[in-house]
């Protein structure tokens, strides 16, 4: 068990590309930290620096209080699960799991005990004699996890371990992985580009973009108070609606929705107003109809409806032509071109500085 911390860590690849730009991160002992961000944002690079598979250009990686920059991966007491599983094709499941222990000269009975125990935990006891090619994708995934578990490391590192599975299995393995991590209590760092996977797994969610950390917090903190427009548009599905707004001569802000919104204590000239699809409520458009006294109302012209089962996504645009997505319960039957009245409570609005994308509270 160990906490992991990154202090002023940077990575510049030999070609001169800066994949990770000065990152600070502290991960508590026993917690599950998820790094999430779009493809190419440097998540894997960061994880691989913790694993020791990439050198650290600047800064310090600490595991369990010890700086590990100069240690080989095998000396860092970590175990990693790869996206491709990286099982040794010519070895049986048992040997795949035992290989790392044998290299550490663990006693045979101890290896046997640990492999059987991990196999039991993962429900792959019946497959110990098989070769990886005789297993399904889900089973291979379990073996890859088993190989990490038998090592009893200080830290588990996962690089998109579920992305090669089909959707149903992915959800199942996600739940199982969380359960296992709780049970073993091992500090874990998990990389994914899937925000839903990230939200459901994370004790600590780290949102990354273009080599930087945009926000660190619990899943709900990040969801409820996105620190930047990037986080707002990345976390949540469908993403938050972001509508540019500007002040008028009285210092009041007007969203480009054709509607007035509250004054903000901010010096920003131009701002962006964010509202989640589920925070917008729809009604029939009756000009002049009184709405909730302090709610923001605007008209929306429907361009299409996507029914997704228990709810529907209504796509439309405001009077000023800004695209919006609204989530409504049940099956919404709005024809294209239909004009609706939308309103949102001011409490549900998020404000960002249009210049640097930062949240304004």
């Amino acid at each position: 068990m160990a906490e992991v911390s990154l202090a002023q860590v940077r990575k510049i690849y030999p070609g001169g590309f800066e994949a990770v730009k000065t990152v600070d991160l502290a991960i508590e002992d026993g917690s599950l930290c998820v790094l999430v961000g779009p493809s190419g944002c440097g998540k894997s690079t960061l994880l691989r620096m913790i694993a020791g598979l990439e050198t650290v250009t600047e800064g310090t990686v600490t595991i369990g209080g010890l700086p590990v920059n100069d240690r080989e991966p095998a000396e860092r007491d970590i175990a990693m699960v790869f996206q491709s599983y990286a099982l040794y094709p010519h070895m049986s499941v048992y040997d795949n799991m035992a290989y790392g222990l044998r290299n550490r000269r663990t006693a045979k009975p101890e290896i046997e005990r640990r492999v059987r125990e991990a196999a039991g935990l993962l429900d792959i006891e019946a497959m110990l004699a098989r070769k990886p090619r005789q297993l399904s994708g889900g089973q291979r995934q379990r073996v890859a996890m088993g190989r990490a578990i038998v090592r009893e490391p200080k830290v588990f590192l996962f690089d998109e371990p579920l992305s090669n599975l089909d959707a149903k299995l992915r959800v199942q393995m996600r739940i199982e992985l969380k359960r296992l991590q709780r049970k073993l209590g091992t500090t874990s760092i998990y990389v994914t580009h899937d925000q839903l996977e990230a939200m459901t797994l994370a004790d600590q969610l780290v949102v990354m973009n273009a080599g930087r950390i945009e926000q660190i917090g619990t899943a709900m903190e990040v969801y409820e108070k996105p620190a930047t427009t990037f986080v707002a548009s990345f976390i949540g599905s469908p993403p938050m609606n972001l509508i540019p707004a500007a002040s008028d001569e009285n210092g009041q802000y007007f969203g480009e929705t054709g509607s007035r919104i509250l004054r903000l204590r901010s010096s920003a000239e131009r701002i962006v107003v964010g509202v989640r699809p589920e925070d917008i409520h729809l009604g029939e458009a009756h000009p002049g109809e009184a709405t909730e006294p302090d709610s923001v109302a605007f008209t929306v012209e429907v361009s299409g409806v996507e029914p997704i089962g228990a709810e529907s996504l209504v796509h439309g645009h405001t009077g000023q032509g800004h695209d919006l997505t609204i989530r409504v319960p049940g099956y919404a039957e709005f024809g294209a071109g239909r004009k609706l009245m939308a309103h949102a409570s001011p409490k549900t609005l998020h404000f960002f500085d249009a210049g640097n994308g930062r949240r304004i509270d």
Binding site: A51, L53, E72, P73, A74, I78, A79, M80, F82, Q83, S84, A86, L87, Y88, P89, H90, Y99, G100, N103, R104, K131, R133, R147
Partner: protein, 282 residues
């Protein structure tokens, strides 16, 4: 191309039978000739049907050799050929595996230079550098030794390239998993790379064994003593006897015997190929 037309099937089979016959014919002639007695060749024609001297001829070749041509018993020549072919095959594979390993997995100064130097040897086969190589081998006192027969033929750019390509197809994540599992470089080489290249090693072994077995010019140069004659050059010596007709029945028996070891190697390795093809999954 899956076409179900009967006349096409007949045609393809005819072509195949014709091709197989064309290749098998010389072997058959050699075999038929090896079962006759010397007098049957005086007409200058090769008999097409087997004679009745099979046991006698083969016994003679195996036990005594054709002493008049200065060739040792075939057993010794086959042994020499086997030693040479095995040394070449094993030596080439070992050296190529190691050099490909170095080129793919290590960063060292002048790596590219080393790579190109290996590449250059591709343009310098033994036949081209035969005189300087002979000088070196003679200078080292390796004439009439197994080392002299095989070492100059061992360096191989082709095999190095082949293994380089094989290693390049092994996913990086596998290498990284092994690193995390605490496998040092040589351990990784032994436990992961070699088993994963198994089928390629087998294929190359067959090719190199036959290459070594069929060497003619080089053994002819470096062996002056009958104790180190190889089968292929021995046969040539038997044909080129001065002042008498070549003893075709014995020559052909020797040729048939000399063909057997490569055949055995192919048959043994073929099983490994097929097994490898079924098992392999990359």
């Amino acid at each position: 191309m899956v076409e179900r037309r009967p006349y096409l099937t007949v045609l393809t089979h005819l072509t195949l039978i014709l091709g197989a016959g064309l290749i098998a014919l010389p072997v058959w002639i050699a075999f038929a000739a090896s079962t006759h007695e010397a007098s049957d060749f005086l007409s200058g024609l090769m008999p097409l049907l087997p004679g009745d001297k099979l046991v006698e001829n083969y016994w003679k070749v195996l036990a005594h050799g054709e002493s008049s041509a200065g060739a040792p018993p075939i057993g010794l020549m086959l042994f020499n050929s086997t030693v040479m072919a095995l040394s070449i095959a094993v030596g080439k594979i070992a050296i190529s595996l190691l050099s490909a390993f170095a080129i793919v997995y290590f960063r060292f100064p002048l790596k590219m230079a080393a790579f190109w130097i290996i590449f250059l040897t591709l343009m310098l086969p033994v036949e081209v550098r035969i005189l300087p190589t002979y000088e070196v081998v003679a200078g080292l006192g390796l004439l009439n030794t197994y080392a002299g027969l095989s070492i100059p033929l061992i360096a191989s750019a082709t095999a190095t390239f082949l293994f380089r390509q094989v290693f390049l197809t092994i996913p990086d994540e596998l290498t990284e998993a092994a690193r995390i599992d605490g496998a040092g470089p040589m351990k990784f080489f032994r436990d992961i790379l070699i088993p994963l290249s198994r089928t390629n090693i087998a294929a190359l072994f067959v090719i190199l064994f036959i290459y070594g077995w069929n060497q003619y010019l080089w053994p002819l140069l470096v062996t002056t003593d009958a104790s180190h004659y190889t089968a292929v050059m021995g046969i040539q010596r038997m044909v080129a006897v001065p002042d008498s007709e070549p003893l075709w029945h014995l020559i052909m028996a020797t040729a048939i015997l000399a063909m057997l070891p490569p055949v055995v190697v192919i048959l043994l390795m073929q099983r490994l190929f097929v097994q490898g093809l079924i098992e392999q999954e990359k």
